[in-house]
């Protein structure tokens, strides 16, 4: 679940998509990592459980899910957090023995689109990508202009976070902040002026991309996350994403982040190995992507998604979830909570 007010995780959005299906009759079980994770307490879910942090490893994850399985029948798990994906990939066969199916990328696929491997992938596929290099010594930012770099440039974490910096002092401050939080290396990336466009879809694991939905951010948080966005239809972006999915035989959800430069070219920025928080837009444009995951896992191979509806907007808002003390106690002490309703419909 992993939701924060100005940077929500995708879990709740995935749950809202599934709950929004007119014929959905299943139970929704939330899996989270922190007792204050709002998704664990949201009325959309039938029950929620805490998992050990991903750094605890695949065995700890499997052991916990085995315990959850004693209380809940779980047919499908949709991982929504980058950090947990490797454990799910490792546990896929074992989870299947418990009846839990996942449509998630393999470890090789996850690695193939990692930020430090992206330039090589782009070279192989002839996809434009901003010049990027790993940095471990912050003095790079003092002398990088000697090597042809120009400010502003982008300083990025290996897993998360990015800052646009305009001089060496700003760059070094961002470097230290990001390295403290996300470790080394930090990435320096050429700044390309333009606007960001994103695509979310599902890879069928055989090279096919199912039901892409594209979006341009219209309002941003301080972290550059979308607070409002509008559905678009960009053939170039769809082709670019298709090539990536085909090249990696991508299996499961993915988000492609790209930049339409002022020069008219499309630059690949990132490939995220899971649904993004804005995936609820897929339900809004009639291409409910979490539902596609269920259909693929059910063995469907032919899809005829309705035409995308460019111009459909989403505007995010934050709301307070009221949590009785007993429920908070349950998640802290038992690592489990049954919210009870689990039938709240979203429009």
């Amino acid at each position: 679940m992993n939701a924060k007010p100005d940077n929500p995780g995708p879990g709740l959005a995935v749950a809202r998509c599934l709950r929004g299906l007119p014929d959905f009759a299943g139970r929704l079980i939330g899996l989270g990592y922190d007792a204050l994770d709002p998704g664990l307490h949201h009325g959309l879910l039938d029950a929620a459980y805490l998992l050990p942090y991903p750094t605890s490893g695949a065995d700890a994850q499997f052991e916990r899910l085995t315990g959850v399985r004693e209380n809940e029948r779980i047919d499908v798990v949709i991982p929504c957090l980058d950090a947990e994906l490797t454990n799910f990939a490792h546990n896929e066969t074992r989870l299947l023995s418990l009846g839990m199916r996942t449509l998630a990328p393999t470890r090789e696929q996850i690695k193939g689109r990692a930020k430090d491997n992206l330039p090589a992938l782009c070279r192989r596929l002839s996809i434009a990508v901003p010049d990027t290099r790993p940095v471990t010594d912050p003095s790079f930012f003092d002398r990088c202009t000697d090597d042809g770099w120009t400010y502003p440039l982008v300083v990025k974490g290996i897993y998360y976070d990015a800052a646009i910096v305009h001089d060496p002092a700003e760059a070094k401050a961002a470097f230290h902040r990001i390295a403290d939080q996300w470790g080394y290396p930090v990435l320096a990336q050429e700044f390309v002026p333009g606007y960001e466009v994103n695509l979310v879809a599902v890879g069928d694991g055989r090279g096919g991309m199912v039901s892409p939905v594209m979006m341009r951010k219209k309002a941003l948080t301080e972290k550059g996350k979308a607070w409002a966005g509008i559905a678009i239809d960009d053939d170039d972006l769809e082709r670019l994403a298709s090539r990536i999915v085909r090249a990696l035989n991508w299996r499961g959800p993915l988000e492609v982040e790209a930049l339409r430069g002022d020069d008219g070219l499309l630059y690949l920025i990132e490939v995220n190995p899971r649904f993004p928080a804005w995936v609820y837009l897929s339900h809004g444009v009639g291409r409910n992507l979490p539902a596609m995951v269920l259909r693929l896992l059910a063995g469907e191979t032919a899809f005829d998604p309705p035409p995308p509806r460019p111009g459909t907007l989403f505007i995010r808002y934050a709301e307070e979830v009221i949590v009785p003390l007993g429920q908070f106690e349950a998640i802290l002490i038992d690592g489990a909570v049954r919210t009870g309703s689990g039938n709240r419909k979203d429009p």
């Binding site: 606007y195 466009v197 979006m215 341009r216 219209k218 966005g229 509008i230 559905a231 678009i232 239809d233 960009d234 053939d235 339409r260 002022d262 008219g264 460019p310 111009g311």
Partner: protein, 91 residues
């Protein structure tokens, strides 16, 4: 990138950018590729309609000059500015 208005227009048409523009009768225009929206006034709407239909600046100027009773050279200047503006919006 094109340099003169007719070349700008040809480029927009070849890239399907003009045709894909969603325009309502109120003048609200939405570019489905970029997600940008903007407004077009009544004469702009008439101009856009002719440009889409004829793909030719001279034919558009001639039609608008007749329709509005304005000298062709005056219409030409306005249409060229309009096409350049479209080219900027529809990168």
């Amino acid at each position: 990138m094109a340099s003169d208005p007719q070349a700008f227009l040809r480029d927009l048409i070849e890239r399907q950018r003009l045709q894909s523009l969603a325009v309502s009768s109120t003048g609200f225009a939405f570019d489905p590729r970029s997600g940008q929206s903007f407004t077009i006034n009544r004469t702009g709407l008439a101009t856009l309609e002719h440009l889409r239909r004829t793909a030719d600046i001279d034919e558009t100027v001639s039609a608008l000059s007749t329709r509005y009773g304005v000298p062709a050279d005056m219409v030409l200047g306005a249409v060229e500015v309009f096409v350049r503006q479209l080219a900027r919006y529809l990168v």
